[in-house]
Subunit: 290 residues, 2 copies
Protein backbone atom coordinates (compact mmCIF):
# COMPACT_ATOMS: atom_id res chain seq x y z
CA UNK A 1 0.00 0.00 0.00
CA UNK A 2 1.51 3.24 -1.19
CA UNK A 3 0.55 6.83 -0.49
CA UNK A 4 0.98 9.04 -3.56
CA UNK A 5 3.49 11.90 -3.24
CA UNK A 6 3.65 13.01 -6.88
CA UNK A 7 2.33 11.78 -10.18
CA UNK A 8 3.46 12.88 -13.65
CA UNK A 9 1.17 13.25 -16.66
CA UNK A 10 2.53 11.54 -19.78
CA UNK A 11 1.28 11.91 -23.35
CA UNK A 12 0.04 8.34 -23.12
CA UNK A 13 -2.31 9.39 -20.30
CA UNK A 14 -3.78 12.07 -22.54
CA UNK A 15 -4.21 9.58 -25.36
CA UNK A 16 -5.86 7.08 -23.01
CA UNK A 17 -8.36 9.80 -22.09
CA UNK A 18 -9.13 10.18 -25.78
CA UNK A 19 -10.09 6.52 -25.85
CA UNK A 20 -6.99 4.83 -27.25
CA UNK A 21 -6.23 1.29 -26.00
CA UNK A 22 -9.80 1.17 -24.65
CA UNK A 23 -8.52 1.73 -21.10
CA UNK A 24 -11.10 2.78 -18.47
CA UNK A 25 -10.46 3.69 -14.88
CA UNK A 26 -7.85 5.68 -12.98
CA UNK A 27 -4.96 6.71 -15.23
CA UNK A 28 -1.35 7.35 -14.20
CA UNK A 29 1.87 5.35 -14.40
CA UNK A 30 4.54 7.90 -13.41
CA UNK A 31 4.58 8.33 -9.65
CA UNK A 32 6.57 8.65 -6.45
CA UNK A 33 5.05 7.44 -3.22
CA UNK A 34 5.64 6.36 0.33
CA UNK A 35 5.06 2.77 1.36
CA UNK A 36 2.45 2.53 4.15
CA UNK A 37 1.97 -1.23 4.38
CA UNK A 38 3.90 -4.22 3.01
CA UNK A 39 4.40 -7.94 3.60
CA UNK A 40 8.12 -7.25 4.00
CA UNK A 41 8.22 -4.63 6.79
CA UNK A 42 11.51 -3.19 5.52
CA UNK A 43 9.55 -1.41 2.78
CA UNK A 44 7.37 0.53 5.21
CA UNK A 45 8.21 4.23 5.27
CA UNK A 46 10.37 3.97 2.15
CA UNK A 47 10.06 6.50 -0.65
CA UNK A 48 9.61 4.50 -3.86
CA UNK A 49 8.96 4.54 -7.56
CA UNK A 50 7.30 1.58 -9.26
CA UNK A 51 7.99 -0.50 -12.37
CA UNK A 52 4.71 -0.23 -14.28
CA UNK A 53 4.57 -3.71 -15.82
CA UNK A 54 2.96 -6.23 -13.47
CA UNK A 55 4.44 -9.47 -14.79
CA UNK A 56 3.63 -13.09 -13.91
CA UNK A 57 7.20 -13.72 -12.71
CA UNK A 58 7.12 -17.28 -14.03
CA UNK A 59 7.12 -17.27 -17.84
CA UNK A 60 10.11 -17.44 -20.18
CA UNK A 61 10.17 -13.62 -20.52
CA UNK A 62 10.08 -13.05 -16.79
CA UNK A 63 12.88 -15.59 -16.28
CA UNK A 64 15.01 -13.64 -18.75
CA UNK A 65 14.46 -10.46 -16.73
CA UNK A 66 12.11 -9.13 -19.40
CA UNK A 67 8.87 -9.00 -17.45
CA UNK A 68 8.20 -5.85 -19.48
CA UNK A 69 7.32 -8.29 -22.29
CA UNK A 70 5.45 -10.87 -20.17
CA UNK A 71 2.45 -11.84 -22.33
CA UNK A 72 0.04 -11.92 -19.39
CA UNK A 73 1.26 -8.67 -17.79
CA UNK A 74 -1.02 -5.86 -16.78
CA UNK A 75 0.31 -2.31 -16.93
CA UNK A 76 -0.27 0.32 -14.25
CA UNK A 77 -2.81 2.83 -15.55
CA UNK A 78 -2.54 1.49 -19.11
CA UNK A 79 -3.62 -2.16 -19.39
CA UNK A 80 -6.12 -3.72 -16.98
CA UNK A 81 -4.60 -2.15 -13.87
CA UNK A 82 -5.91 0.95 -12.06
CA UNK A 83 -3.34 3.74 -12.28
CA UNK A 84 -1.41 5.90 -9.84
CA UNK A 85 -3.37 9.18 -9.90
CA UNK A 86 -5.15 8.60 -6.61
CA UNK A 87 -4.34 9.06 -2.93
CA UNK A 88 -3.43 5.41 -2.33
CA UNK A 89 -2.35 2.65 -4.67
CA UNK A 90 -1.00 -0.87 -4.44
CA UNK A 91 1.78 -2.60 -6.35
CA UNK A 92 3.61 -5.91 -5.88
CA UNK A 93 6.76 -5.41 -3.80
CA UNK A 94 8.94 -6.73 -6.62
CA UNK A 95 7.86 -3.73 -8.71
CA UNK A 96 9.16 -1.19 -6.16
CA UNK A 97 12.50 0.62 -6.26
CA UNK A 98 13.85 2.59 -3.29
CA UNK A 99 14.80 6.20 -4.03
CA UNK A 100 18.14 7.61 -2.85
CA UNK A 101 17.63 10.72 -0.69
CA UNK A 102 19.59 12.85 -3.21
CA UNK A 103 16.66 12.76 -5.64
CA UNK A 104 13.83 15.20 -4.78
CA UNK A 105 10.38 13.65 -5.14
CA UNK A 106 9.36 16.07 -7.91
CA UNK A 107 12.30 14.87 -9.99
CA UNK A 108 11.87 11.19 -9.14
CA UNK A 109 8.59 11.30 -11.06
CA UNK A 110 10.81 11.26 -14.12
CA UNK A 111 12.34 7.85 -13.31
CA UNK A 112 9.80 5.98 -15.44
CA UNK A 113 10.10 8.07 -18.65
CA UNK A 114 13.86 8.37 -18.10
CA UNK A 115 14.07 4.57 -17.93
CA UNK A 116 12.29 4.49 -21.30
CA UNK A 117 15.01 6.79 -22.65
CA UNK A 118 17.75 4.59 -21.14
CA UNK A 119 16.17 1.56 -22.82
CA UNK A 120 17.80 2.69 -26.09
CA UNK A 121 21.24 1.85 -24.67
CA UNK A 122 20.03 -1.58 -23.54
CA UNK A 123 18.89 -2.34 -27.09
CA UNK A 124 21.42 -0.69 -29.39
CA UNK A 125 25.20 -0.53 -29.00
CA UNK A 126 26.13 3.12 -29.65
CA UNK A 127 29.87 3.69 -29.21
CA UNK A 128 30.89 6.71 -27.13
CA UNK A 129 31.83 9.68 -29.28
CA UNK A 130 29.46 8.72 -32.10
CA UNK A 131 27.31 11.52 -33.55
CA UNK A 132 23.64 10.82 -32.82
CA UNK A 133 20.63 12.84 -33.96
CA UNK A 134 17.54 13.19 -31.77
CA UNK A 135 14.41 14.29 -33.59
CA UNK A 136 11.82 16.05 -31.42
CA UNK A 137 12.04 18.28 -28.35
CA UNK A 138 9.11 17.06 -26.30
CA UNK A 139 9.48 15.49 -22.87
CA UNK A 140 10.79 12.18 -24.17
CA UNK A 141 13.10 13.80 -26.74
CA UNK A 142 14.69 15.93 -24.01
CA UNK A 143 15.26 12.91 -21.78
CA UNK A 144 16.68 10.88 -24.68
CA UNK A 145 19.15 13.57 -25.70
CA UNK A 146 20.37 13.95 -22.12
CA UNK A 147 20.74 10.18 -21.62
CA UNK A 148 22.74 9.85 -24.82
CA UNK A 149 24.88 12.82 -23.86
CA UNK A 150 25.55 11.30 -20.42
CA UNK A 151 26.52 8.07 -22.21
CA UNK A 152 29.22 10.01 -24.04
CA UNK A 153 27.79 10.28 -27.54
CA UNK A 154 27.86 13.49 -29.56
CA UNK A 155 24.18 14.45 -29.52
CA UNK A 156 22.57 16.87 -31.95
CA UNK A 157 18.89 17.54 -31.27
CA UNK A 158 16.38 18.87 -33.79
CA UNK A 159 13.23 20.52 -32.47
CA UNK A 160 10.74 23.30 -32.95
CA UNK A 161 10.98 25.20 -29.66
CA UNK A 162 14.00 27.25 -28.64
CA UNK A 163 12.94 27.26 -24.98
CA UNK A 164 12.66 23.47 -24.86
CA UNK A 165 15.93 22.88 -26.69
CA UNK A 166 17.63 25.15 -24.15
CA UNK A 167 17.01 22.47 -21.50
CA UNK A 168 19.12 19.99 -23.44
CA UNK A 169 21.75 22.63 -24.13
CA UNK A 170 22.30 22.93 -20.35
CA UNK A 171 23.95 19.52 -20.36
CA UNK A 172 25.96 20.19 -23.51
CA UNK A 173 23.65 18.88 -26.24
CA UNK A 174 23.96 20.85 -29.47
CA UNK A 175 20.58 21.81 -30.89
CA UNK A 176 18.95 23.17 -33.99
CA UNK A 177 15.51 24.41 -34.99
CA UNK A 178 14.35 21.79 -37.52
CA UNK A 179 13.99 23.48 -40.88
CA UNK A 180 15.97 21.69 -43.55
CA UNK A 181 16.92 18.32 -42.15
CA UNK A 182 20.20 16.72 -43.27
CA UNK A 183 20.05 13.68 -45.57
CA UNK A 184 21.84 10.36 -44.93
CA UNK A 185 24.09 12.02 -42.35
CA UNK A 186 23.75 10.10 -39.08
CA UNK A 187 24.55 6.50 -38.19
CA UNK A 188 22.02 6.72 -35.33
CA UNK A 189 18.80 8.74 -35.28
CA UNK A 190 16.27 8.68 -32.44
CA UNK A 191 12.72 9.47 -33.54
CA UNK A 192 10.87 11.14 -30.65
CA UNK A 193 8.60 13.62 -32.41
CA UNK A 194 5.36 11.93 -31.46
CA UNK A 195 4.16 12.32 -35.05
CA UNK A 196 3.79 9.94 -37.96
CA UNK A 197 5.85 12.24 -40.17
CA UNK A 198 8.83 11.89 -37.82
CA UNK A 199 9.61 8.33 -38.86
CA UNK A 200 9.94 9.25 -42.53
CA UNK A 201 12.20 12.17 -41.63
CA UNK A 202 14.33 9.99 -39.39
CA UNK A 203 14.83 7.42 -42.17
CA UNK A 204 15.92 10.19 -44.53
CA UNK A 205 18.51 11.48 -42.06
CA UNK A 206 20.07 8.05 -41.55
CA UNK A 207 23.22 6.78 -43.29
CA UNK A 208 23.22 3.51 -45.21
CA UNK A 209 23.42 0.61 -42.70
CA UNK A 210 22.44 3.07 -39.95
CA UNK A 211 19.83 2.70 -37.20
CA UNK A 212 16.63 4.57 -36.42
CA UNK A 213 15.35 4.13 -32.87
CA UNK A 214 11.57 4.52 -32.76
CA UNK A 215 10.44 6.07 -29.46
CA UNK A 216 7.14 7.71 -30.57
CA UNK A 217 4.03 5.68 -29.99
CA UNK A 218 1.85 6.89 -32.82
CA UNK A 219 -1.62 5.45 -32.89
CA UNK A 220 -3.05 3.95 -36.03
CA UNK A 221 -1.15 3.32 -39.22
CA UNK A 222 2.01 5.18 -40.12
CA UNK A 223 2.96 5.44 -43.78
CA UNK A 224 6.61 4.73 -44.41
CA UNK A 225 8.47 4.69 -47.67
CA UNK A 226 10.02 1.24 -47.47
CA UNK A 227 12.30 1.80 -50.49
CA UNK A 228 14.94 3.93 -48.68
CA UNK A 229 14.82 1.54 -45.71
CA UNK A 230 15.66 -1.36 -48.00
CA UNK A 231 17.96 0.39 -50.49
CA UNK A 232 20.02 1.91 -47.66
CA UNK A 233 19.62 -1.20 -45.49
CA UNK A 234 18.47 0.80 -42.51
CA UNK A 235 17.57 -0.84 -39.21
CA UNK A 236 14.50 0.40 -37.32
CA UNK A 237 14.32 -0.49 -33.64
CA UNK A 238 11.08 -0.15 -31.68
CA UNK A 239 11.81 0.93 -28.11
CA UNK A 240 9.49 1.19 -25.11
CA UNK A 241 9.92 0.87 -21.32
CA UNK A 242 13.26 0.37 -19.65
CA UNK A 243 14.88 -0.76 -16.41
CA UNK A 244 14.59 1.76 -13.56
CA UNK A 245 18.10 1.30 -12.12
CA UNK A 246 20.08 3.29 -14.74
CA UNK A 247 17.49 6.07 -14.61
CA UNK A 248 17.76 6.35 -10.82
CA UNK A 249 21.56 6.50 -11.08
CA UNK A 250 21.40 9.27 -13.70
CA UNK A 251 19.10 11.41 -11.55
CA UNK A 252 21.20 10.74 -8.45
CA UNK A 253 24.40 11.82 -10.23
CA UNK A 254 22.59 14.86 -11.71
CA UNK A 255 23.92 13.97 -15.16
CA UNK A 256 20.35 14.38 -16.40
CA UNK A 257 18.49 17.53 -15.37
CA UNK A 258 14.74 17.34 -15.18
CA UNK A 259 13.87 20.28 -12.90
CA UNK A 260 13.50 22.68 -15.84
CA UNK A 261 11.07 20.27 -17.47
CA UNK A 262 8.41 20.72 -14.77
CA UNK A 263 5.87 23.17 -16.18
CA UNK A 264 3.37 23.07 -13.34
CA UNK A 265 2.46 21.26 -10.11
CA UNK A 266 -1.22 20.92 -9.22
CA UNK A 267 -3.09 19.08 -6.46
CA UNK A 268 -4.72 15.75 -7.28
CA UNK A 269 -8.19 17.27 -6.91
CA UNK A 270 -7.37 19.60 -9.81
CA UNK A 271 -6.50 16.65 -12.06
CA UNK A 272 -8.92 17.68 -14.86
CA UNK A 273 -7.24 21.10 -15.04
CA UNK A 274 -3.82 19.45 -14.92
CA UNK A 275 -4.73 17.20 -17.87
CA UNK A 276 -5.91 20.23 -19.87
CA UNK A 277 -2.62 22.01 -19.16
CA UNK A 278 -0.56 18.94 -20.02
CA UNK A 279 -2.33 18.75 -23.39
CA UNK A 280 -1.52 22.40 -24.21
CA UNK A 281 1.18 22.83 -26.87
CA UNK A 282 4.44 24.09 -25.42
CA UNK A 283 3.82 22.66 -21.96
CA UNK A 284 6.27 20.03 -20.69
CA UNK A 285 5.69 17.95 -17.55
CA UNK A 286 2.65 18.65 -15.36
CA UNK A 287 2.81 17.03 -11.91
CA UNK A 288 0.02 16.09 -9.56
CA UNK A 289 0.57 16.00 -5.81
CA UNK A 290 -1.54 14.72 -2.99
Amino acid sequence: LIRLLYGGICNTDIELQRGYYGFRGTPGHEFVGEVLEADDPSWVGQRVVGEINLACGKCEWCKRGLGRHCPTRTVLGIVKQPGAFREFLTLPERNLRRLPREIPSEEAVFVEPLAAACEILDQVRIPRGTPVAVLGDGKLGLLVSQVLKAHGTQVHQFGRHKDKLRIAEQVGVSTEIAKKLPVAKYEFVVEATGSGEGLRQAVQMTQPRGTVIMKSTVHGLVAIDSAPVIVNEITLVGSRCGRFEPAIRLLESRKVRVDAMISEVLPLKKAPEAFRKAATPGVLKVLLHD
Copy 2:
Protein backbone atom coordinates in the same frame (compact mmCIF):
# COMPACT_ATOMS: atom_id res chain seq x y z
CA LEU B 1 33.72 -6.58 -72.87
CA ILE B 2 31.41 -9.47 -72.11
CA ARG B 3 29.28 -11.64 -74.36
CA LEU B 4 25.95 -12.51 -72.77
CA LEU B 5 25.27 -16.19 -72.16
CA TYR B 6 22.14 -15.93 -70.01
CA GLY B 7 20.17 -13.17 -68.36
CA GLY B 8 17.50 -13.57 -65.68
CA ILE B 9 14.37 -11.44 -65.41
CA CYS B 10 13.79 -10.09 -61.91
CA ASN B 11 10.65 -8.42 -60.55
CA THR B 12 12.61 -5.19 -60.41
CA ASP B 13 13.03 -5.36 -64.21
CA ILE B 14 9.28 -5.63 -64.62
CA GLU B 15 8.75 -2.67 -62.28
CA LEU B 16 11.34 -0.63 -64.16
CA GLN B 17 9.36 -1.29 -67.35
CA ARG B 18 6.31 0.10 -65.59
CA GLY B 19 8.19 3.33 -65.03
CA TYR B 20 9.42 3.01 -61.47
CA TYR B 21 12.78 4.67 -60.64
CA GLY B 22 12.51 6.58 -63.95
CA PHE B 23 15.06 4.24 -65.55
CA ARG B 24 15.26 4.28 -69.35
CA GLY B 25 17.38 2.09 -71.58
CA THR B 26 18.39 -1.56 -71.62
CA PRO B 27 17.24 -3.39 -68.48
CA GLY B 28 18.86 -6.44 -66.88
CA HIS B 29 21.14 -6.98 -63.90
CA GLU B 30 21.18 -10.77 -63.51
CA PHE B 31 23.51 -12.33 -66.08
CA VAL B 32 26.22 -14.82 -66.90
CA GLY B 33 28.67 -14.02 -69.68
CA GLU B 34 32.01 -14.77 -71.26
CA VAL B 35 34.77 -12.18 -71.19
CA LEU B 36 35.88 -11.25 -74.73
CA GLU B 37 38.24 -8.36 -74.02
CA ALA B 38 39.87 -7.03 -70.83
CA ASP B 39 42.81 -4.89 -69.68
CA ASP B 40 43.97 -7.83 -67.62
CA PRO B 41 44.25 -10.64 -70.22
CA SER B 42 43.71 -13.36 -67.59
CA TRP B 43 39.99 -12.50 -67.70
CA VAL B 44 39.64 -13.27 -71.40
CA GLY B 45 37.66 -16.44 -72.04
CA GLN B 46 36.47 -16.65 -68.43
CA ARG B 47 32.85 -17.35 -67.63
CA VAL B 48 31.74 -14.63 -65.20
CA VAL B 49 28.93 -13.06 -63.23
CA GLY B 50 29.05 -9.37 -62.32
CA GLU B 51 28.43 -7.35 -59.15
CA ILE B 52 25.76 -4.86 -60.25
CA ASN B 53 26.85 -1.81 -58.23
CA LEU B 54 29.48 0.25 -60.07
CA ALA B 55 31.14 2.04 -57.17
CA CYS B 56 33.74 4.81 -57.17
CA GLY B 57 36.27 2.66 -55.29
CA LYS B 58 37.55 5.64 -53.32
CA CYS B 59 34.91 6.85 -50.86
CA GLU B 60 34.52 5.83 -47.23
CA TRP B 61 31.90 3.21 -48.15
CA CYS B 62 34.08 1.66 -50.84
CA LYS B 63 37.03 1.53 -48.44
CA ARG B 64 34.87 -0.39 -45.97
CA GLY B 65 34.06 -2.94 -48.67
CA LEU B 66 30.53 -1.56 -48.97
CA GLY B 67 30.63 -0.24 -52.53
CA ARG B 68 27.01 -1.42 -52.68
CA HIS B 69 26.29 1.77 -50.66
CA CYS B 70 28.69 4.10 -52.52
CA PRO B 71 26.72 7.37 -52.86
CA THR B 72 27.93 7.99 -56.42
CA ARG B 73 27.41 4.43 -57.65
CA THR B 74 25.51 3.54 -60.76
CA VAL B 75 23.66 0.22 -60.89
CA LEU B 76 23.63 -2.12 -63.87
CA GLY B 77 20.25 -1.88 -65.59
CA ILE B 78 18.74 0.03 -62.64
CA VAL B 79 20.45 3.38 -62.04
CA LYS B 80 22.19 5.30 -64.84
CA GLN B 81 23.88 2.23 -66.32
CA PRO B 82 22.68 0.28 -69.38
CA GLY B 83 21.73 -3.25 -68.36
CA ALA B 84 22.74 -6.76 -69.31
CA PHE B 85 19.92 -7.85 -71.64
CA ARG B 86 21.92 -7.37 -74.86
CA GLU B 87 24.44 -9.37 -76.86
CA PHE B 88 27.49 -7.54 -75.46
CA LEU B 89 27.99 -5.53 -72.30
CA THR B 90 30.87 -3.95 -70.40
CA LEU B 91 31.64 -3.86 -66.70
CA PRO B 92 34.72 -2.81 -64.69
CA GLU B 93 36.97 -5.80 -64.05
CA ARG B 94 36.66 -5.35 -60.29
CA ASN B 95 32.95 -6.13 -60.63
CA LEU B 96 33.57 -9.55 -62.20
CA ARG B 97 33.58 -12.89 -60.41
CA ARG B 98 34.86 -16.09 -62.04
CA LEU B 99 32.43 -19.02 -62.06
CA PRO B 100 33.56 -22.50 -60.97
CA ARG B 101 32.89 -25.05 -63.71
CA GLU B 102 30.54 -26.99 -61.41
CA ILE B 103 27.87 -24.33 -61.80
CA PRO B 104 25.90 -24.55 -65.07
CA SER B 105 25.37 -21.16 -66.74
CA GLU B 106 21.58 -21.36 -66.39
CA GLU B 107 21.98 -21.72 -62.64
CA ALA B 108 24.71 -19.09 -62.32
CA VAL B 109 22.13 -16.47 -63.34
CA PHE B 110 20.85 -16.90 -59.79
CA VAL B 111 24.11 -15.70 -58.21
CA GLU B 112 22.90 -12.09 -57.96
CA PRO B 113 19.50 -12.74 -56.32
CA LEU B 114 21.04 -15.49 -54.20
CA ALA B 115 23.63 -12.98 -52.97
CA ALA B 116 20.71 -10.73 -51.96
CA ALA B 117 19.32 -13.64 -49.94
CA CYS B 118 22.74 -14.30 -48.35
CA GLU B 119 22.93 -10.61 -47.37
CA ILE B 120 20.56 -11.40 -44.47
CA LEU B 121 23.30 -13.41 -42.76
CA ASP B 122 25.80 -10.56 -43.23
CA GLN B 123 23.42 -8.18 -41.47
CA VAL B 124 21.73 -10.22 -38.75
CA ARG B 125 23.25 -12.83 -36.46
CA ILE B 126 20.87 -15.80 -36.56
CA PRO B 127 22.16 -18.68 -34.44
CA ARG B 128 22.05 -22.13 -36.06
CA GLY B 129 19.05 -24.16 -34.95
CA THR B 130 16.87 -21.09 -34.43
CA PRO B 131 13.33 -21.28 -35.85
CA VAL B 132 12.94 -18.69 -38.63
CA ALA B 133 9.80 -17.86 -40.60
CA VAL B 134 9.95 -16.86 -44.26
CA LEU B 135 6.87 -15.09 -45.57
CA GLY B 136 6.34 -15.40 -49.33
CA ASP B 137 7.10 -18.11 -51.89
CA GLY B 138 8.23 -16.06 -54.86
CA LYS B 139 11.72 -16.27 -56.34
CA LEU B 140 13.37 -14.33 -53.54
CA GLY B 141 11.42 -16.11 -50.81
CA LEU B 142 12.51 -19.50 -52.16
CA LEU B 143 16.17 -18.42 -52.26
CA VAL B 144 15.96 -16.95 -48.76
CA SER B 145 14.46 -20.08 -47.24
CA GLN B 146 17.13 -22.26 -48.87
CA VAL B 147 19.98 -19.98 -47.74
CA LEU B 148 18.71 -19.98 -44.17
CA LYS B 149 18.28 -23.75 -44.27
CA ALA B 150 21.85 -24.18 -45.57
CA HIS B 151 23.01 -21.92 -42.70
CA GLY B 152 21.49 -24.42 -40.28
CA THR B 153 18.42 -22.60 -39.05
CA GLN B 154 15.04 -24.27 -38.69
CA VAL B 155 13.12 -22.66 -41.56
CA HIS B 156 9.35 -22.58 -41.86
CA GLN B 157 8.06 -20.96 -45.04
CA PHE B 158 4.58 -19.54 -45.52
CA GLY B 159 3.31 -19.13 -49.09
CA ARG B 160 0.31 -19.37 -51.35
CA HIS B 161 1.44 -21.93 -53.95
CA LYS B 162 1.95 -25.62 -53.19
CA ASP B 163 4.09 -26.12 -56.31
CA LYS B 164 6.46 -23.30 -55.38
CA LEU B 165 6.76 -24.34 -51.75
CA ARG B 166 7.69 -27.83 -52.95
CA ILE B 167 10.98 -26.39 -54.27
CA ALA B 168 11.98 -25.32 -50.76
CA GLU B 169 10.78 -28.64 -49.33
CA GLN B 170 13.39 -30.41 -51.53
CA VAL B 171 16.15 -29.03 -49.31
CA GLY B 172 14.28 -29.75 -46.08
CA VAL B 173 12.39 -26.51 -45.48
CA SER B 174 9.05 -27.08 -43.78
CA THR B 175 6.24 -25.17 -45.49
CA GLU B 176 2.66 -24.14 -45.00
CA ILE B 177 -0.05 -22.52 -47.11
CA ALA B 178 -0.55 -19.14 -45.42
CA LYS B 179 -4.05 -19.03 -44.00
CA LYS B 180 -4.06 -18.19 -40.34
CA LEU B 181 -0.62 -16.83 -39.52
CA PRO B 182 0.80 -17.39 -36.03
CA VAL B 183 1.06 -14.41 -33.68
CA ALA B 184 4.25 -13.39 -31.83
CA LYS B 185 5.78 -16.80 -32.49
CA TYR B 186 9.12 -16.26 -34.23
CA GLU B 187 12.29 -14.49 -33.13
CA PHE B 188 13.19 -13.96 -36.80
CA VAL B 189 10.80 -13.38 -39.69
CA VAL B 190 11.87 -12.66 -43.26
CA GLU B 191 9.33 -10.64 -45.24
CA ALA B 192 9.60 -11.57 -48.93
CA THR B 193 6.01 -11.35 -50.14
CA GLY B 194 6.55 -8.40 -52.44
CA SER B 195 3.40 -6.79 -51.04
CA GLY B 196 2.77 -3.94 -48.65
CA GLU B 197 0.54 -6.16 -46.52
CA GLY B 198 3.45 -8.53 -45.88
CA LEU B 199 5.27 -6.18 -43.53
CA ARG B 200 2.28 -5.88 -41.21
CA GLN B 201 1.88 -9.66 -41.17
CA ALA B 202 5.59 -10.16 -40.48
CA VAL B 203 5.47 -7.77 -37.50
CA GLN B 204 2.48 -9.68 -36.09
CA MET B 205 4.31 -12.99 -36.34
CA THR B 206 7.38 -11.71 -34.51
CA GLN B 207 8.13 -12.25 -30.81
CA PRO B 208 8.87 -9.31 -28.51
CA ARG B 209 12.48 -8.18 -29.06
CA GLY B 210 12.50 -10.17 -32.34
CA THR B 211 13.66 -9.14 -35.81
CA VAL B 212 11.85 -8.71 -39.12
CA ILE B 213 14.11 -8.71 -42.18
CA MET B 214 12.57 -6.64 -44.96
CA LYS B 215 13.43 -8.09 -48.40
CA SER B 216 10.46 -6.81 -50.45
CA THR B 217 11.02 -3.60 -52.33
CA VAL B 218 7.52 -2.19 -52.39
CA HIS B 219 7.12 1.03 -54.29
CA GLY B 220 5.37 3.97 -52.72
CA LEU B 221 4.27 4.25 -49.14
CA VAL B 222 3.63 1.22 -46.96
CA ALA B 223 1.31 1.60 -44.00
CA ILE B 224 2.63 0.02 -40.84
CA ASP B 225 1.09 -0.09 -37.43
CA SER B 226 3.96 1.31 -35.37
CA ALA B 227 2.35 0.45 -32.02
CA PRO B 228 3.21 -3.30 -32.08
CA VAL B 229 6.73 -2.47 -33.32
CA ILE B 230 7.28 -0.21 -30.32
CA VAL B 231 5.30 -2.11 -27.69
CA ASN B 232 7.03 -5.38 -28.59
CA GLU B 233 10.35 -3.62 -29.29
CA ILE B 234 10.72 -5.27 -32.68
CA THR B 235 13.70 -4.57 -34.92
CA LEU B 236 13.09 -4.12 -38.67
CA VAL B 237 16.12 -4.54 -40.92
CA GLY B 238 16.08 -3.36 -44.53
CA SER B 239 18.10 -5.73 -46.71
CA ARG B 240 19.16 -5.42 -50.35
CA CYS B 241 22.13 -6.66 -52.43
CA GLY B 242 24.81 -8.95 -51.06
CA ARG B 243 28.33 -10.18 -51.70
CA PHE B 244 28.58 -12.70 -54.55
CA GLU B 245 31.13 -15.04 -52.95
CA PRO B 246 28.81 -16.87 -50.51
CA ALA B 247 26.20 -17.25 -53.26
CA ILE B 248 28.73 -18.82 -55.63
CA ARG B 249 29.84 -21.23 -52.88
CA LEU B 250 26.23 -22.27 -52.17
CA LEU B 251 25.53 -23.03 -55.83
CA GLU B 252 28.84 -24.86 -56.19
CA SER B 253 28.10 -27.06 -53.17
CA ARG B 254 24.51 -27.61 -54.43
CA LYS B 255 23.19 -26.72 -50.97
CA VAL B 256 20.79 -24.39 -52.74
CA ARG B 257 18.84 -25.78 -55.68
CA VAL B 258 17.72 -23.35 -58.33
CA ASP B 259 17.12 -25.60 -61.35
CA ALA B 260 13.46 -26.14 -60.44
CA MET B 261 12.98 -22.39 -60.30
CA ILE B 262 13.58 -21.90 -64.04
CA SER B 263 10.16 -21.58 -65.64
CA GLU B 264 11.27 -20.83 -69.20
CA VAL B 265 14.30 -20.01 -71.36
CA LEU B 266 13.80 -17.74 -74.37
CA PRO B 267 16.17 -16.14 -76.86
CA LEU B 268 17.11 -12.49 -76.40
CA LYS B 269 15.14 -11.50 -79.50
CA LYS B 270 11.99 -12.73 -77.78
CA ALA B 271 12.62 -10.49 -74.77
CA PRO B 272 9.16 -8.82 -74.93
CA GLU B 273 7.48 -12.24 -74.76
CA ALA B 274 9.85 -13.26 -71.96
CA PHE B 275 8.91 -10.15 -69.96
CA ARG B 276 5.22 -10.91 -70.39
CA LYS B 277 5.76 -14.47 -69.20
CA ALA B 278 7.84 -13.32 -66.24
CA ALA B 279 5.01 -11.00 -65.19
CA THR B 280 2.45 -13.83 -65.25
CA PRO B 281 1.32 -14.98 -61.79
CA GLY B 282 2.71 -18.38 -60.86
CA VAL B 283 5.76 -18.09 -63.13
CA LEU B 284 9.16 -18.17 -61.43
CA LYS B 285 12.44 -17.33 -63.23
CA VAL B 286 12.40 -16.61 -66.95
CA LEU B 287 15.84 -16.66 -68.58
CA LEU B 288 17.05 -14.98 -71.75
CA HIS B 289 19.88 -16.47 -73.78
CA ASP B 290 21.85 -15.14 -76.67
